[in-house]
Symmetry: C2
Subunit: 397 residues, 2 copies
């Protein structure tokens, strides 16, 4: 597998572009991904019971799991907007279909931005009509989906599968909004591989558990979260079947794309200065390992300690203790970087100079060994900083 420079339009038959429609003051705010042929599609959505209008529209479009285009706006989330909001999301879908001359039900819709505000439909319509895929600017799509993200998030990989070069690209936006309201996560993955929609959905659901669902910025779950995967088959590889070499390779590509995007989102959390990775080993099962890892990385006390570059193992073991997994409270080992802090829950002496260097870095790895089983799991988050409070307190609705 190779990581290459590229965009969401790198896989065969995909194009993408983005532009400034006018929802934001100056930045790009509308984007489209398009596939030459309807792609087999898989999606996962927010578990929040309060779902934004585009979630409903995309779910309906996904009934047959064929998607040819995705239209995304930033600036307005189209959440808590009632029947008008739903009609607007449907209109956004219809306008895109008409403009691209494709079937309405093959267009997925996503929005991110402020809650409770209606989409300015004239702006949206004018924007959609300006979409020009003949003169596409794929990187502009990466930019158009951002809100308070400080950087675009993308990865492109290629792999030989059964003699064909398969390309997979992912792009995401994370934790921050023009008007900060919550950490909406949107991620789009395109690939030219031939794979059935059902297997794609199975892989997405499975890998979401270990990647996108294992990141946390502030524990809040957005009304708009969505991960959408499109496989248009134009690489013309033999259809990927489960439990084959081709499947293993495809799975590895998907894992790398998902995990990379997830980490990029965690690292770019509102006000964050550090990526925190927590690895839990020695757990009874993977679910519990992931649970403990996520509780540790989500603890406000751990997050502030990492911001303060303090090896505060007391806060970490405390979070392990309340995570709700099977635990033997006297058996916990812990490391930050390669320095061991706890052995069987008792403090160990460590090299303070090395620890200082470890904690000064932009990525901090915490390892917890529960010593009661053989399973492991990871989670990613960021530190909790003055800037987080500033971003989220100083904004006025």
């Amino acid at each position: 597998m190779q990581i290459i420079e590229g965009t969401i339009a790198s896989p065969k038959g995909f194009s993408a572009t983005g532009l400034h429609a006018g929802l934001k003051k100056e930045k790009k705010d509308l984007g489209v991904i398009y596939s030459e042929v309807p792609a087999n599609a898989a999606a996962v959505y927010t578990t929040n019971q309060v779902k934004a209008a585009p979630i409903y529209v995309t779910k309906e479009a996904m009934a047959d799991q064929k998607i040819q285009a995705v239209v995304v706006n930033s600036g307005v989330a189209n959440a808590c907007t009632g029947k008008i909001g739903l009609a607007n999301a449907q209109e956004m879908q219809a306008l895109t279909a008409t403009h691209l001359k494709i079937v309405k039900d093959t267009v997925a819709v996503a929005s991110t931005g402020v809650i409770g505000k209606q989409l300015p439909m004239e702006t949206i319509e004018a924007g959609i009509n300006q979409i020009d895929l003949q003169h596409q600017e794929p990187y502009a799509f990466h930019q158009a989906i951002l809100t308070t993200d400080t950087a675009t998030k993308e990865i492109v990989v290629t792999e030989e599968i059964n003699g064909q070069t398969i390309t997979m690209a992912g792009v995401a936006k994370g934790s921050g909004m023009i008007h900060p309201n919550m950490a909406t996560m949107l991620a789009f993955v395109t690939t030219d591989a031939q794979i059935s929609e059902d297997l794609l959905q199975e892989i997405l659901a499975d890998k979401t558990e270990t990647t996108f669902n294992q990141i946390t910025v502030d524990g809040d779950t957005s009304t708009n979260d969505m991960v959408l995967v499109l496989a248009n088959g134009l690489a013309e590889n033999p259809v990927i079947e489960k439990n084959t070499d081709a499947y293993a390779k495809f799975l590895a590509m998907f894992q790398l794309v998902s995990e990379t995007l997830a980490k990029m989102i965690a690292k770019d959390g509102e006000g964050a200065t550090k990526l925190i990775e927590v690895q839990v080993v020695g757990a009874l099962n993977e679910t519990e390992a992931r649970l403990v890892a996520k509780k540790v990385v989500g603890s406000s006390l751990v997050k502030t300690a990492m911001f303060g570059e303090d090896p505060n193992w007391g806060r970490i073991i405390c979070a392990v203790g309340y995570a709700g997994s099977h635990t033997d409270p006297g058996k916990i080992d812990m490391w930050i970087g390669d320095q061991q802090l706890l052995k069987h829950s008792q403090p160990q002496s460590f090299d303070e100079a090395i620890m200082k260097q470890t904690l000064e870095k932009e990525k901090i790895c915490i390892t917890v060994d529960l010593n009661i089983g053989a399973q492991s799991g990871k989670a990613w988050g960021c530190d909790l900083t003055y800037k987080y409070v500033e971003v989220n307190a100083l904004y006025h609705t």
Copy 2:
């Protein structure tokens, strides 16, 4: 029922005192509550699987639910201290029993402070030997259990029950430590009422659900949390039986004491400037009402919005949506103070000047009506501020 000035030693037959033993630099750090006769006792403990040594010692002392004295130190939590820590907690119990000339198994032990450090037993022993209940200073007990709390927390109430005046007193410490590690909650309630230990335990377990368990500062559950209730019967009222007028009155006293202490703890959360009360009505059942209230008040995004004095209903409805209760996402009503922000999940116009005044206050009430049932619940928390990050990031272990 009357709220009176007083201390944890106000109920008949109780005395209490506190002093500076030397665990902290200057402030009081050791205290004792004593009852002339062994009291019927009830207790609830942290659900954290990593429990501090004094929790184990107190649980053992509570086997017969008779407690005559409580010894508490602040400064060192005696958590993650292994066998030595357990022996030290037992020694602290034995020293107190010897000094007060009572049975060792009637002494409860509690600690709060930094994790992973052993108790300085010479200091503890010297401190215990200085305890002089003949010249008691009960308010010094209130001070001795504090860590980074900015104020003592106490309430005393009296009520006529079957012709006798019953007194009930409560004292607590909350969210903050000399070396901030986590929000340890300790609460002690004394009363001279005659009531069986079993009924006392039932009342405590029940009321904990709606009071102490409904507060959140940062979502972290300490290794040392404990609520301990002592009823020594010296008011000589007829023993309080369930489902009588006397029971109803006792319950009301206990509710007021617990809820008042819980709110005081929430308001004095690390770095907090405001108490936030969330009331959820129209829920299917009380458990779900409390769950939703606690999710809203625990949301970092809601907490920062309240710090910023912003009526950000989008963050509130988002937290309602991910709380995991039964919800009809199109039916939610919401108020901040008496200003309605949402009706059936749609934004309402409100008086901005009144809203500004409401949000400037030290106590902010958020009401959410789920409109799907008839049950309600409350939760309390505080805002998330620069000071919280400072308190928790600038400390170095």
